[in-house]
């Protein structure tokens, strides 16, 4: 699927909101068409057959629908959220392990993150996407193996020089605001 136009991260945020607020099936269709093949490809990198990977992708997308209210766009892009759901499912099914996750933090039904925070983070993540695409082939392969294959974490210890600092401080700030709102 190389060469297709990069999707717009902020637009996907809006799609998830439409699912959360109106159970919008059209928004789901578009998310599915974009992300399901990507999840399938990700799962197949773990060495599974296409039918199994497709089943996983269905499952991941159903989780996205069911958990739309838990997504916080001031702390993650939609691609990342989908990645985390897919990763956890892969560990469950392929490695047959439970996947302990940190306590859920949500804005709850009323409060919303600041729109400026959301925009800031989404732009930052698009920039990271461009930085990863621009990495030398060798370095990108290593990261891909670490995240999509089965390379152990000790082998990816070397930092890649990716611009994670600003993303990290943005998310830290978003967490502070969330903690304040949860009080």
């Amino acid at each position: 699927m190389k060469g297709t136009k990069r999707s717009n991260a902020t637009d996907w945020v809006d799609h998830v909101r439409r699912i959360r607020d109106r159970q919008d099936q059209q928004a789901f269709r578009e998310l599915f068409e974009h992300f399901a093949p990507r999840v399938k490809g990700f799962v197949m990198r773990g060495g599974t057959d296409a039918a199994f990977a497709e089943e996983c992708a269905q499952d991941v997308m159903a989780t996205l629908w069911r958990k739309a209210h838990l997504f916080d766009p001031s702390r993650a892009s939609v691609s990342t959220w989908v990645f985390t759901i897919a990763r956890n499912r892969k560990i469950d099914l392929i490695r047959k392990q439970r996947r302990p996750e940190p306590e859920d933090l949500t804005w709850g039904p009323e409060a919303e993150p600041d729109q400026a925070d959301v925009l800031g983070l989404q732009q930052e993540t698009e920039e990271l996407g461009r930085a990863i695409a621009a990495l030398p082939e060798k370095q990108r392969n290593l990261i891909e193996k670490a995240y999509f294959g089965d390379l152990s974490h000790s082998e990816i210890a070397e930092q890649t020089g990716l611009p994670l600092g600003t993303i990290k401080s943005r998310i830290r700030l978003a967490l502070d605001r969330l903690r304040h709102a949860m009080k």
């Binding site: 990763r87 302990p100 039904p109 996407g129 967490l175």
Partner: protein, 211 residues
């Protein structure tokens, strides 16, 4: 209370990529529930996974979308209840089946107790109870040991560790953790290789303690 001892970048990256054994994931998830600094670092590493996901895909078979649509649940989602405050963070509580009073301790001598948690076999996780002022016998490590403080505090040759702090020990560290005199200390510890005890008695007991 400020957390001073954090997870390493390596562990956070491994957790983001999903390559750690379950026992380590449990320590990481428990620390993340208490430490927003590490939560933010993790989220940044997860963004790498998200960006990679954007890169490529494998076409779904026809009819995939329709069967997904047919399976969607249209009931209202369950509201999220914030975890009740307690000594154990949420991910740990689901392994114990409750908070501290639900832990099934087994004595390992010297007032020290442990409860082995059910995880996959590539690493082991246990809760440790060290009475105020007591010491865990001097030991070294064959692999990596992560120790997260949940209650009280302990000190060893390197520093003092309080609730939320995590000590990352490797082959180079030989230490004797001693619990603070003020309160009994409860820790979550994970190891991917057996410990190396320096004195004879714990070494003889080791096979029975599974440590």
């Amino acid at each position: 209370m400020t957390i001073k001892h954090h997870l390493t970048e390596q562990l956070l990256m491994g957790y983001a990529a999903g390559t750690l054994p379950e026992a380590f994931n449990l320590v990481v998830a428990s620390h993340l529930s208490m430490c927003d600094d590490c939560r933010a670092t993790l989220a940044a590493y997860e963004e790498i996974g998200g960006a990679l996901l954007e890169e490529a895909g494998v076409a779904m078979s026809t009819g995939g979308l329709d069967s997904a649509l047919a399976r969607l649940d249209t009931r209202a989602p369950e509201p999220v209840r914030p975890a009740a405050p307690g000594a154990l963070p949420a991910p740990l509580r689901s392994y114990v089946g409750g908070d501290v009073d639900a832990i099934r301790w087994r004595s390992v001598g010297g007032g020290v107790k442990q409860a082995i948690l059910p995880t996959s076999e590539s690493a082991s996780a246990r809760l440790l109870f060290i009475p105020a002022g007591a010491a865990v016998p001097d030991h070294g490590h064959r692999g990596m040991e992560l120790t997260l403080v949940l209650q009280g505090a302990f000190a060893d040759e390197t520093d003092r560790f309080v609730r939320g702090d995590v000590e990352v020990a490797d082959q180079d560290l030989e230490h004797m953790p001693v619990a603070d005199i003020g309160a009994d200390c409860i820790c979550l510890a994970a190891t991917d290789a057996p410990l190396r005890f320096t004195s004879l008695i714990p070494r003889l007991l080791q096979p029975f303690l599974k440590i």
